[in-house]
């Protein structure tokens, strides 16, 4: 058996890594192992368009033909179960063993489970295409859907469910929705949009108990209310998939810990995407784990370059988007790095909040508006963040000052 590049996890990150290895003209064996039955596919549509479509389809990152053309061997429906670091092998559930020169762990993340008894077949999570199909069956006019957790995935799902006229209620334990990483001013716009579309949102509501008899879910809340639903979708965050790395004795620190080049403590093993924590250069090496699509894509490509010896450090600014109804939200950088905010109003009610550190450095920008109204300025903000500039707050706040001009300065 010829040793080559082995990638565990055929998601956004693993898929991009495999394609990048070939773009870089690597000509040894490339093996992509995934436990889902599909081609590598995009997850973001799962809570958005795919959820509304009558016949949801996967949005593949690469077709079978593309993989074949590039001699990327995709082993699907099989899990990697053990890494032997000395022998440089990975054992799979089907008993086969792969020999690697360099190994990439792109195992992603998985929904955080609600630690509560009483959950049955009507209490579900959303991560995979299979999950999406199962949920889609329950989204129809008048069907009652309870969403536990007012985070992005739950709220996007709520918007999709409303498009199909389901009766939707969102239960959030925190005092407001989108508590993590989204400024209150923007969360408020999202909240209002949901209410205007007929979604009921309960905030600051703890759940006491859940009873699920397989046809109906009954959720008892701290204030004594009882919510009865045909389906409960739990969206309370995600946890990194680290089992393989733990078994292999690699360091875990809120995900598989890697250095700036995405290398673990083992020089021949890399980790990237949702499963890893890494030092973020724009914030003085602060260790973070991101659950974001573009990050998975960028890190997949970076890991591929570094598996081939580039030794390149991660330098990107985190970026995230979410779509709900006609609204689009985009965030560049990590807003919790900011101490003060400056608001810039754009057309059509869209606006951007710029987050400034104590010393005036621009550290993040959060925007919301119809369609792609905030996209261009958020992209420019991202470049300003990467340049670590300290723009005059008046300039950021004024529509008359083009952000592009600040970049040139």
């Amino acid at each position: 058996m010829q040793a080559g590049m082995v990638i565990i996890g055929a998601g956004e990150c693993g898929g991009r890594a495999a394609l990048t290895l070939r773009e870089l003209a690597y000509d040894g064996p490339v093996t992509l192992v995934g436990d889902e039955p599909h081609l590598p596919y995009e997850r973001p549509p799962l809570s958005k368009d795919a959820m509304v479509s009558d016949a949801p389809e996967i949005k593949a990152i690469a077709s079978d033909a593309m993989l074949a053309e590039r001699a990327i061997r995709h082993i699907h429906s099989v899990q990697a179960v053990a890494i032997d670091r000395t022998a440089h092998t990975v054992r799979l559930t089907d008993g086969s063993v792969l020999l690697y020169n360099k190994l990439l762990l792109a195992t992603g993340s998985t929904p955080r489970r609600l630690p509560m008894p009483g959950l049955g077949s009507r209490c579900v999570y959303l991560r995979t295409f299979a999950d999406a199909l199962a949920i889609r069956q329950h989204l129809s006019a008048g069907n009652r859907v309870a969403i536990i957790g007012g985070g992005f995935i739950g709220l996007e799902l709520a918007a999709s469910a409303r498009k199909l006229w389901a009766v939707v209620i969102v239960i959030e334990a925190q005092p407001r929705i989108l508590m993590r990483g989204v400024p209150a001013e923007i969360a408020e716009i999202v909240h209002q949009a949901h209410e205007a579309e007929g979604v009921k949102i309960l905030t600051g509501q703890g759940i006491i108990s859940i009873a699920d008899d397989g046809t109906e879910v009954c959720i008892a809340l701290a204030d004594g209310q009882e919510i009865v639903a045909d389906l409960a979708v739990i969206g309370i965050g995600a946890v990194p998939v680290t089992g393989l790395a733990v078994e292999a004795g690699l360091t875990i620190d809120n995900g598989i810990a890697v250095d700036a080049t995405l290398r673990t403590g083992d020089p021949d093993i890399f980790a990237a995407g949702d499963c890893c924590s890494f030092p973020l250069a724009v914030y003085a090496g602060r260790r973070v784990r991101l659950e974001a699509w573009r990050n998975a894509q960028e890190q997949g490509a970076l890991a591929a370059r570094n598996m081939l010896g580039a030794g390149e450090a991660h330098a990107a600014v985190p970026w995230f988007w979410s779509d709900q109804y006609g609204l689009s939200l985009q965030i560049a950088g990590l807003s919790d790095e900011g101490k003060s905010m400056v608001r810039r109003d754009l057309s059509d009610g869209a606006f951007i909040l710029f987050h400034l550190a104590e010393d005036g450095r621009l550290v993040a920008a959060s925007g919301i508006g119809p369609g792609n109204a905030v996209a261009r300025d958020i992209r420019l903000a991202e470049m300003l963040i990467a340049k670590r500039v300290k723009p005059a707050p008046e300039a950021l706040g004024s529509q008359d000052v083009k952000l592009k001009s600040l970049l040139a300065a």
């Binding site: 990152i61 490509a301 970026w319 988007w321 792609n372 996209a375 261009r376 992209r379």
Partner: protein, 104 residues
């Protein structure tokens, strides 16, 4: 068939910028490059049919506003994930201060 259609006035687009142009039920994007040339491509991203005119122009790249897919607007070539399908381009000329594009 190959008619030249007036899209806009040359001064309607800033340097290193893009504008949307709809014609005959189709949508196009008209670009003005940093060195003051004009170009035209299909208006919608090949990833998810989003209007590219809301995106950012940098040198000869248009970046899609939705997921930052990139194209070279001069050639239409896809230049960065998630886009992998090229954009169609159209001939452009500037006459008497008007930007004309040839729609095939």
């Amino acid at each position: 068939m190959s008619d030249w259609v007036e899209a806009c006035a040359a001064g309607d687009i800033d340097e290193e910028d893009v504008m949307r142009f709809d014609h005959g039920g189709r949508t196009f994007a008209i670009y003005r490059s940093p060195d003051d040339d004009y170009f035209a491509t299909d208006g919608l991203c090949t990833h998810e049919k989003v209007h590219l005119a809301d995106g950012l122009v940098m040198d000869d790249i248009i970046e899609c506003p939705k997921h930052n897919g990139r194209f070279n607007y001069k050639t239409g070539a896809a230049r960065g994930a998630p886009v992998c399908v090229n954009l169609a381009t159209y001939p452009v000329k500037v006459e008497a201060g008007k930007v004309l594009i040839q729609i095939g």
